[in-house]
């Protein structure tokens, strides 16, 4: 009986020691997105584009991070990760790890609709034995708004060619020549008739 109690207490002590090994670490990470709820990605039916989330690991204790990316809401099929390798390594001090996402708006989707896309990032912890660790994660989301072609982010306004500066119009030139010729001929005829 005594032996059993001692064993149970030993169990707890060992748990404390193991956990202590893991403290004082810091996890820091994040992702920026160029589109969000109030700033949706506007595309017209039938259009597609590539957008990028940007992973950062700028503060913390200097640890490198690895994240597993997953689209947890693809907006009814409009979004997909471009890369089949969904693990993203984010070394400490970097803020430019790109996660490309292909967004395709079907032809038959009605204008005015909005599709929410949610991307989840979960930290991959190192496989250290005997440790109860706490890893981090986050989600980021953006909205795809279906708009008319002219409101799309892909719309490029047609370039208006500047009108060439007009000199003397052709009709004016011709008229001037006719008048000058008429005067000259008339003047010559007059001179002849004088003689």
């Amino acid at each position: 009986m005594v032996n059993k109690i001692m064993k149970k207490e030993m169990m707890m002590v060992s748990l404390v020691l193991i956990l202590t090994m893991a403290i004082s670490l810091v996890s820091a990470f994040g992702a920026s997105t160029p589109y969000w709820d109030e700033h949706p990605l506007k595309l017209a039916p039938g259009e597609s584009t590539l957008m990028e989330l940007t992973l950062q690991n700028m503060v913390g204790d200097g640890s490198d991070m690895v994240f597993k990316a997953e689209i947890t809401n693809d907006g009814d099929g409009v979004a997909a990760l471009v890369s089949s390798d969904t693990l993203y390594s984010v070394p400490f001090g970097t803020e430019d790890v790109k996660v490309p996402i292909r967004v395709v708006v079907p032809e038959d989707i009605a204008q005015g609709g909005k599709r929410e896309v949610v991307v989840s990032f979960m930290q991959i912890s190192s496989e250290e034995e005997g440790m109860v660790g706490v890893s981090g994660g986050f989600t980021t989301k953006f909205v795809v708004e279906v708009v008319g072609v002219e409101d799309s982010v892909l719309f490029v306004p047609p370039v208006v060619e500047p009108k060439a500066e007009e000199g003397m119009p052709m009709w004016g030139l011709i008229l001037a020549i006719v008048i000058v010729l008429t005067i000259i001929i008339f003047w010559i005829l007059k001179k002849k008739s004088k003689k």
Partner: protein, 319 residues
């Protein structure tokens, strides 16, 4: 006869004069009416203004500078996690009184957005003179990680030596949304336990979570996993033996559940300046406290119990 010749002479003169006038008129009407009409031509002769309404502001002896070509290299800027994003803007200034009339020390730049703190630099730098009347300036402005996402206006100003001000607010840029956090510690400890103990709080909590981005009102979810025995891996301290809450103590009701993401409803992570260290919304901070409600009474042996690697507990911020 002389009279007849005189009449002919007069006719000839009239003829030539008429011809000359006709040709002159044709040429006048023909020359470059591309942008100005006959009315403009008429107006230019009579001195009448080309436009129907005209407003003018005349400063005798001095002309205010004009700011143009306000340029940012990338009009879509990402916040820097937990830091300051420095953004360079260049702009040109023309003063028809000459570049010597510009007061270089008054060149300033501001990033403005409603409800947000204006970010500015009042010491923009003269890059150089472009010609006798124009000069270029460069400004570096820092945007903080908690500054709101959205469209910001770029406001550039400069005075001349007579304190006449030139201003330009025509350009904008987009400050993107950053969802990020820093948390510490990344493991939890408990003191010495007895199998009959209940409501034992972790002795190294709270886990402090700082919002190091500008995404607001984030939810916090926690996923726990059963702690498996290191020697007998069929024995567990179950995830549902633990609670998590935003307040200290073991009165929490948010029970964790194995491999299930549980929302900690008492927490909302706002954005803010972490260095204020208020530990609340104003500084973009939250705290999580963990409690072991008790150990399983049956089928538990004295051994190490762990949750590591893929079974590490997870704290996730949800936008």
């Amino acid at each position: 006869m002389e009279t007849k010749e005189g009449v002919q002479d007069i006719k000839q003169k009239v003829f030539f004069t008429t011809g000359f006038l006709l040709i002159s008129l044709v040429l006048l009407f023909s020359v470059s009416f591309a942008s100005a009409g006959i009315v403009d031509w008429y107006n230019s002769i009579t001195g009448r203004a080309s436009d129907s309404t005209t407003s003018m502001a005349v400063t005798v002896g001095n002309n205010a500078p004009t700011i143009y070509n306000v340029t940012m290299f990338n009009v879509s800027q990402n916040p820097s996690e937990g830091g300051t994003r420095y953004i360079t803007v260049i702009f040109n200034v023309t003063d028809i009184d000459g570049v010597t009339n510009l007061n270089d020390t008054t060149a300033e730049l501001r990033f403005q957005k409603a409800t947000e703190t204006t970010r500015y630099n009042t010491s923009c730098v003269l890059v150089g003179d472009l010609n006798d009347t124009s000069a270029g300036y460069s400004c570096l402005v820092g945007m903080e990680y908690w500054d709101g996402s959205g469209e910001w206006t770029i406001n550039a100003t400069i005075d001349d030596i007579n304190e006449a001000r030139g201003e330009n607010s025509t350009e904008t840029f987009t400050y993107n949304l950053l969802t990020s956090m820093v948390m510490s510690p990344t493991a939890l400890t408990w003191g010495s336990l007895n199998v009959t103990d209940t409501d034992i709080g972790s002795n190294n909590d709270p886990i402090k979570i700082n919002n190091t981005g500008n995404d607001k009102a984030l939810s916090i979810n926690v996923t726990g996993y059963d702690l498996a025995g290191s020697e007998i891996d069929t024995q567990f301290i179950y995830a549902h033996n633990f609670t998590v809450e935003a307040t200290a103590g073991c009165g929490a009701t948010t029970l964790m559940s194995n491999a299930t993401s549980i929302n900690v409803t008492s927490t909302i992570l706002e954005s803010g300046n972490n260095s204020i260290a208020a530990g609340d919304d104003s500084s973009g901070q939250e705290e999580l406290y963990f409690c072991l409600k008790g150990l399983p009474v049956d089928d538990i042996s004295a051994q190490d119990y762990a949750a590591s690697g893929a079974l590490s507990w997870n704290i996730q911020i949800i936008t």
